[in-house]
Symmetry: C2
Subunit: 362 residues, 2 copies
């Protein structure tokens, strides 16, 4: 790779497109004749407002976001969203959650502070290695929403068919698959995604919310920052936003449009993941951790079945110049995260390495 860059399989923050980084570097000392770096700009200035407006317009184009949805840029990551979703959308004080792994569990734990949480389906019985059948869930009539984590970063599952919410609002955490494939926004009431996995630098979540779900009649103790209405009414500039993240993500949105949008991105992601899954399915040493039909294109956990051997793979991978292949501490094993910005050459190089390792450890 150029600049001596490495194939970085981190689960996030993770790789960004090289042309985007080059542009950012070139604009560092003086952004397009403004006399300033973007980090130095007043968020109330015309030059920054244009950056923010373009970022939002490009994201709307990329995802075909309908006009009755607001796009918000909010700090605090997923951890704040776990609380914000419940604080803002629990009108009747009841919500349904599907438990598919580490991140939906965190969302459930936080939501319980603000109302009754019903876990309507779970894949805990098989170590979260699949997505449960959600075609006929038992959803109470007065449930405010149904919540899913659409791609479980740690467990490596993804939803290929959305749950039947029986007319209830669908809320989705798309963090680790955001912009990895086309998405029909109208299927959701709210989509949120921490941008640090598949878009840009950590420190911001994108929230896409249907306008009629933005309420003002919340618990009076709700911090002003945690009302979606605060951000919606002020176009994400009630207070100083994470301007740098907006700038960098905006460049990634433009980059994705330039290569052909989410349809093209999905094709590339399928091809890339296929390289690795094909290897895993044919390997006698390595095994994927997820049932084939629910496998994530983004996060690919796998194991040898032997903890010491797993550790040996990680050690050898570092020597070979790969980074961040160790599985999450909560599940162990190995994990290759191959987000949008990972080139197919990275997936191929990983397979070459694993093939060689397997040959040496027969």
């Amino acid at each position: 790779m150029k600049y001596g860059r490495t194939f970085n399989f981190s689960a996030g923050p993770a790789m960004m497109p090289e042309p985007v980084l080059e542009e950012i570097r070139d604009e560092m000392m003086n952004y397009r004749g403004s006399g300033m770096c973007v980090m130095e700009m007043s968020h109330r200035s015309k030059v920054f407002q244009q950056i923010a407006d373009e970022a939002q317009a490009d994201l709307r184009k990329l995802m075909n976001i309908p006009d009755n949805y607001k796009v918000l840029f909010i700090q605090g990551g997923g951890t704040l969203q776990f609380a914000m979703v419940a604080m803002n959308l629990m009108k009747n004080g009841k919500a349904c959650y599907v438990e598919t792994g580490a991140w939906s569990k965190k969302a459930i734990a936080e939501a319980k502070k603000y109302g009754e949480v019903q876990v309507v389906a779970s894949s805990a019985d098989k170590n979260f290695s699949y997505i449960p059948d959600c075609s006929d869930l038992d959803i109470p009539e007065d449930a405010d929403y149904v919540y899913i984590c659409e791609n479980e970063t740690i467990n490596g599952t993804t939803w290929n068919k959305l749950p039947n919410t029986k007319g209830h609002i669908l809320v989705s955490d798309q963090s680790s698959m955001f912009l990895s494939r086309p998405c029909n926004v109208a299927d959701y009431g709210l989509i949120w995604a921490g941008v640090q996995k598949n878009v840009g630098p950590a420190g911001m979540a994108v929230v896409i919310i249907r306008e009629d779900l933005i309420r003002d009649d919340l618990d009076p103790k709700t911090p002003i920052y945690m009302k979606y209405k605060t951000h919606a009414d002020n176009d994400s500039m009630y207070n100083t936003p994470n301007c740098w993240a907006i700038y960098c993500c905006g460049k990634v949105f433009k980059y994705l449009l330039s290569i052909g949008g989410l349809e093209e991105m999905e094709k590339r992601n399928i091809a890339k993941a296929q390289v690795i899954y094909d290897f895993l399915d044919s390997s006698k040493l390595f095994k994927g951790a997820v049932v084939p039909q629910d496998r994530s294109l983004m996060n690919i956990p796998f194991v040898t079945g032997d903890k010491e051997l797993d550790a040996a793979v990680v050690a050898a991978s570092k020597e070979a110049g790969f980074d961040n292949l160790k599985g999450h501490k909560s599940v162990g094993g190995l994990r290759a995260s191959v987000y949008n910005a990972m080139p197919i050459e990275g997936a191929q190089a990983l397979v070459d390495f694993l093939t060689k390792f397997e040959a040496e450890h027969k």
Copy 2:
């Protein structure tokens, strides 16, 4: 200036030291042989952990932070801190606030959601143009803390003598004067500062909190992100922090140490502000908005006394290549923010411009 850079008088985000920006640019494609940009690094990686550890260690050195204080890096800016301070420190449900301008008013409004707020002093009577005498405040015995905004960005006042809290905990919003002068951390229970004014990119607040004030027995509805304990127990990495801001701020901390620390920075800031205040005091057209003894070294609001003429100054300043001289919309007039990274040449150039404007508008 190099690179065609402008003298940027923005109230924040604002100028950063040029050598810091150059380093960031040079490390963009491959940070010190890691093969990655800092934006692409896992926050759990050794290479990023070292960046975060150094940033904290350098800040501790710069401010002589005692060992019994935690340093936290939290997203959400001042707006989240207004709520967090009250949610975490109101043990008896009562706190005293000093009202000195726009930002203390925002803090007061948010704190009222969580308990009884007593405004123990105010300078509202004279349009927040001074700091009230706080040598003998009427502070209830059971007040949990006394809160001040140590530099009012919009109004241009600064505290040169801290209030007599009569043994109560002092909480200070130092956002717009953070690291502008030496500070005895032991005088405070908690200091917080949004970094986007005097340090680095927007999207992070630094919180310096005495360990015994970190509590776990909060309202059960407190979002996990809003407990100082969550951040303190996890060294600011409970969730993915704003890694980029930690990296950039860390470089600014090192830069400040390299020039001689906060004592040297204060000398430079006094010299710089003096250039502008001397002009204002001798001008027949322009007038500073704040009483001399409480003037900020960072934010210098001034007026001609004529709104149209104020607007003419702003228009002419843009033509002359200065940026962001317009006063905040809530107070009007003009404002020059001259944070740490503004060189004295910027202050001198501004005075030259204003002198010329005055000569042309006699």
